[in-house]
């Protein structure tokens, strides 16, 4: 046949022969080479989504471990475990097994806390990833589908969180469950039916922990896994966006190839995320369920707060006015419906539809692969700041009792602060952000036109004092720069354009020869002194006093 062992280039090593055997059967070489050669942009903000992916991985692993010990049943049992203060107390089997997991399984508490921390990190990284995508315009055509998938996954992540922290059936989670029940009941027309379908009857029944459990460990994770796969598939298919810069166009990706650089960095990141979660899980206590006690509908602890990502709904519920709407026929829409179902529904709908909304408003239907700097799109950035302010303010309102307590403020006053703030703060955030964006834009244009401020003041022969500016490129006869703004960061300090030489390497002691560095830097044209010979000096600056622009007020001898 075509391939024989004697053919030129045939592998001679064992490993090479094994690889050939595999490729003869699977024909993986073309796919493997394409994958390894795929170019990934080299920017830290592209790692945010990866953190979400890796924390999901941790959640799958630690969660699977927890299921070995957890019993999702609401059967009444008497606690007999090793945590003495609760011995003899009646509780549900779910709470009992969660306590056993914490006290009688070797390393079980560590795994439980690891799982909880990873869950917080999972949602947090999704949110930060979403903000990066939003503020840089990465959701624009052709990536609307992935934006939509992302928003759906965010909602699923929140549902994962809610069903997850309900499972231990302690006093805190039971209080949360009671509020979930009330929210379900508050839905007009179908509320009671929805509640009876979910809880299999009136609150609390005997089914809900089991149902939340299967949703938490099977249904939602399965959907999430499928969506993550789709999200990544589309990402690979569409290739990455990138920030504008030298050599970067709408038709290429500049960065590192997957193998080895990007793969090594990503693997490093996996381990760091795992490590941080493990450290948090062991060192920082989270949700000490044994302190809350078993759920009892007649008991509650003060400062009952959900996990951070649900805090905004708690806050909106706290500050919403008592507006029950009475309808003819003795029907009514409870006040609770608006700050929970409607607020959350509206927020996520607007978020999901934002790419379409922006396309409609701007009329921009073109494909974009180059990202925008937030300052260059002031309206979007200001809208984002407005939404973020709204969200964060609701979250603050969700802790208004703690704030009132710690700062000795009236609770009612805090509620009013929340109510007024949620109306006036977002528009203020919009206006401020808009102005800041315009200011930053103008400063970019100014530096392009007039050059970088060097901090060097020069006295002209006429007696006038001027500040010397370093143009970034060729100038016209008035000394104005001719570079156009390209959507990339504009250097603002002399060091950004090689005004200083690089530091001599070595932390405690230099590991390079300083003179060698000096020569190398001169050859590369770095450092102000290198421009000395070509610069035309028009002043009578006295070198001995450091008055020459070439010295820039910086010591010239390598010292670090």
């Amino acid at each position: 046949m075509a391939r024989t062992a004697t053919a030129p280039g045939a592998p001679t090593t064992k490993l090479g022969k094994a690889a050939l055997e595999v490729d003869d059967r699977m024909i993986v070489a073309p796919w493997l080479r394409r994958t390894m050669n795929k170019v990934y942009p080299d920017h830290w903000s592209f790692l945010l989504g990866e953190i979400a992916l890796y924390s999901f991985l941790i959640l799958l692993l630690s969660g699977t471990y927890l299921t070995f010990f957890f019993d999702a049943s609401m059967r009444e049992v008497v606690y007999e475990g090793s945590y003495a203060p609760l011995r003899g107390v009646e509780m549900s089997a779910a709470y009992d097994s969660a306590l056993n997991l914490s006290f009688d399984v070797r390393g079980g508490l560590f795994m439980r806390q690891l799982h909880h921390w990873a869950a917080l990190l999972f949602v947090a990284s999704i949110v930060v990833h979403l903000l990066r995508i939003f503020f840089t315009g990465a959701f624009r055509r052709p990536r609307e589908t992935n934006w939509l998938l992302g928003v759906v996954m965010l909602v699923l992540a929140l549902l994962m969180g809610v069903t997850g922290y309900t499972l231990p059936d302690d006093l805190l989670s039971g209080t949360g469950l009671r509020i979930i029940s009330a929210i379900l009941l508050s839905i007009p027309v179908i509320g009671t039916w929805a509640h009876f379908a979910v809880f299999n009857g009136d609150f609390v029944g005997e089914q809900i922990i089991g149902r939340f459990y299967i949703a938490h460990v099977l249904i939602i994770p399965a959907i999430l896994l499928a969506l993550i796969a789709l999200h990544l598939l589309i990402l690979v298919k569409q290739k990455h966006t990138q920030f504008p810069g030298a050599g970067r166009t709408e038709h290429n990706v500049v960065g590192n190839r997957l193998f080895p650089t990007f793969a090594a960095k990503a693997t490093g990141l996996i381990f760091v995320v795992f490590g941080v979660c493990a450290a948090l899980g062991g060192l920082v206590q989270i949700n000490p369920i044994w302190l809350w006690g078993p759920y009892n509908p007649a008991q509650v602890s003060a400062a009952s707060q959900p996990d951070w990502y649900i805090g905004f709904l708690d806050g909106s519920t706290r500050i919403f006015p008592p507006w029950d709407i009475e309808l003819p026929g003795d029907y009514n829409i409870p006040a609770l419906f608006w700050p929970t179902v409607v607020v959350a529904g509206l927020m996520f709908t607007v978020l999901a539809l934002y790419p379409m909304i922006e396309r409609r408003m701007t009329g921009d239907t073109a494909s974009h692969h180059l990202l925008q700097r937030p300052r260059d799109v002031p309206v979007r950035t200001a809208l984002g700041a407005m939404g973020l302010t709204f969200y964060v303010w609701l979250m603050v309102a969700g802790g208004n009792d703690v704030i009132a307590d710690k700062f000795d403020i009236s609770l009612n006053a805090m509620t009013w602060v929340g109510r007024i703030g949620v109306i006036i703060l977002p528009p203020i955030a919009y206006a401020l952000t808009y102005r800041i964006c315009l200011g930053l834009q103008q400063h970019d244009r100014e530096v392009l036109e007039h050059g970088i401020e060097t901090g060097v003041i020069r006295r002209l022969p006429s007696g006038e004092f001027i500040e010397v500016h370093q143009p970034l490129g060729p100038v016209d006869e008035h000394g104005h720069g001719q570079l156009a703004y390209g959507g990339a960061p504009v250097p603002k300090r002399m060091n950004h354009v090689g005004g200083a030489r690089r530091a001599v390497r070595g932390f405690f002691s230099p590991v390079e020869e300083p003179t060698q560095v000096e020569i190398e830097q001169r050859a590369e044209g770095r450092g102000l002194a290198t421009g000395e010979s070509s610069r035309e000096l028009t002043t009578s600056g006295r070198p001995s006093e450091g008055g020459r622009p070439s010295e820039g007020g910086r010591p010239q001898e390598p010292r670090d």
Binding site: A7, I27, A29, R33, N37, K38, S82, Y83, A84, R106, G107, T175, R178, I179, A182, S186, G191, T192, W193, F196, N200, D202, F203, V204, E250, N252, V253, G255, N256, P260, T261, A264, T267, G268, F271, V272, V273, G275, V276, A279, G281, G282, L283, P297, A298, Q299, V300, S304, F320, P322, D324, G329, D330, P334, A335, L336, D401, L411, N412, V511
Partner: protein, 370 residues
């Protein structure tokens, strides 16, 4: 290779491999490829994938001080990562063997309080150092290359050919003409889809059967008992105090909607007492009883401030005034807490005169109609 294949099962036609999957083997003979260096082959493959290597910053020179330092750093970090991993194993396995027991003990502190933090510390340090070492290795010891990959728009050829296949098949199926097929297909799809989701109907339960939302375990003559089951006489409580009571039925203290607050008002509060319409006789002397389940989101309203006669719900800070029929005076709750009509039985213990006359707990769509 013979042009005619005569093996059993073959059709007797020519059996030669088609064009190979992947690379342009016609352009590059094995001899040509064998003559190229690995670097050239790498670049060639990359170019074939639309990737151009623009610029390579070589790693540190072999044998240089820089390289030695970087190797020492990475080696040290990975060594430490291994060490911490072993320490984790040591703590995990050794606790209760050659180390003190890890299990919780009533005396705070000691090894059991250190066990979980040590596990976290060692695993955290170990895994983080693995990652840090890997990043340092990449940054300090590998060459840094800048690569550019082309991004292609969709191909017109692909679209047209794929579209033609689809359209051709649709045309052949005749679905445009054969209306009966289309209609039965729609009916079948709708029917099968509906059939498959039908079992979800098992989840549906009527909330209106037997009025479970509007009734509690309270009823005529049901005693008010404490959490431990002891009944209550008038005079057991100090004026101004609040006690959580439950119906004297089995499991009454675990029911989700029966918890009730029995409050003995101070004389000053009794003077100002305003009751809701038609509920003037629900109180017994200076005693009033209100549902403990908040009318907003169902949390137990627990915090009673007797100077201001207010009850606060800790979940969303609704406040109710006990001297005004537990009317909401601040916060998101819109309805008063339902009042339990009180009486005293022959033996002098508090009993309920009836169940609550309205639904307790959170408001819902048809609450007023039940």
């Amino acid at each position: 290779m013979s042009a005619r294949d005569t093996r059993p099962g073959s059709t007797g036609g020519a059996d030669v491999p088609g064009p190979l999957y992947g690379g342009p083997d016609d352009d590059y003979t094995p001899e040509q490829l064998a003559a190229m260096s690995p670097l050239e082959l790498d670049r060639l493959g990359a170019r074939y994938d639309g990737v151009e290597i623009l610029h390579v910053d070589p790693g540190p020179e072999p044998g240089s001080v820089m390289e030695q330092r970087a190797i020492r750093q990475v080696g040290l970090i990975w060594g430490l990562a291994g060490l911490f991993a072993f320490l984790f194993v040591l703590v995990y396995v050794g606790s209760g063997w050659f180390l003190p027991d890890w299990q919780w003990s009533i005396t705070e502190g000691g090894w059991s309080a250190l066990f979980t933090p040590l596990l976290g510390l060692f695993m955290g340090l170990s895994l983080t150092l693995v990652g840090v070492g890997l990043v340092l290795f990449t940054k300090k010891l590998l060459p840094h290359e800048t690569a550019v990959q082309d991004k292609h728009d969709g191909s017109h050829f692909d679209r047209v050919t794929a579209g033609a296949t689809l359209v051709g098949s649709y045309h052949n199926s005749g679905l445009g003409r054969r209306k009966l097929i289309t209609r039965s297909l729609a009916l079948m799809g709708g029917g099968v889809g509906l059939m498959l989701i039908m079992p979800l109907g098992g989840l549906i339960k009527s909330p209106n059967k037997g009025n479970p939302l509007g009734t509690t375990a309270w009823g005529e003559g049901v005693r008010l008992v404490r959490n431990d089951g002891t009944p209550i006489r008038p005079g057991d409580q100090e004026p101004g105090s609040l006690e959580t009571v439950f119906p004297a039925v089995p499991g009454g203290n675990r029911q989700a909607d029966a918890a009730t607050m029995l409050i003995r008002l101070r004389p000053a509060q009794v003077e100002n007492l305003q009751t809701r319409e038609g509920q003037g006789d629900f109180a017994y002397g200076e005693y009033v009883a209100y549902s403990k389940i908040c009318t907003h989101a169902g949390c137990p309203v627990s915090l009673y401030e007797q100077e201001t006669s207010r009850i606060l719900c800790p979940c969303h800070q609704s406040q109710f005034d006990v001297t005004q029929g537990a009317k909401p005076v601040f916060g998101p709750a819109a309805r008063a807490l339902p009042q339990l009509p009180l009486d005293v039985d022959d033996e002098g213990f508090f009993v309920a005169r009836s169940d609550y006359i309205e639904a307790v707990g959170p408001t819902y769509w048809n609450r007023e109609r039940i």
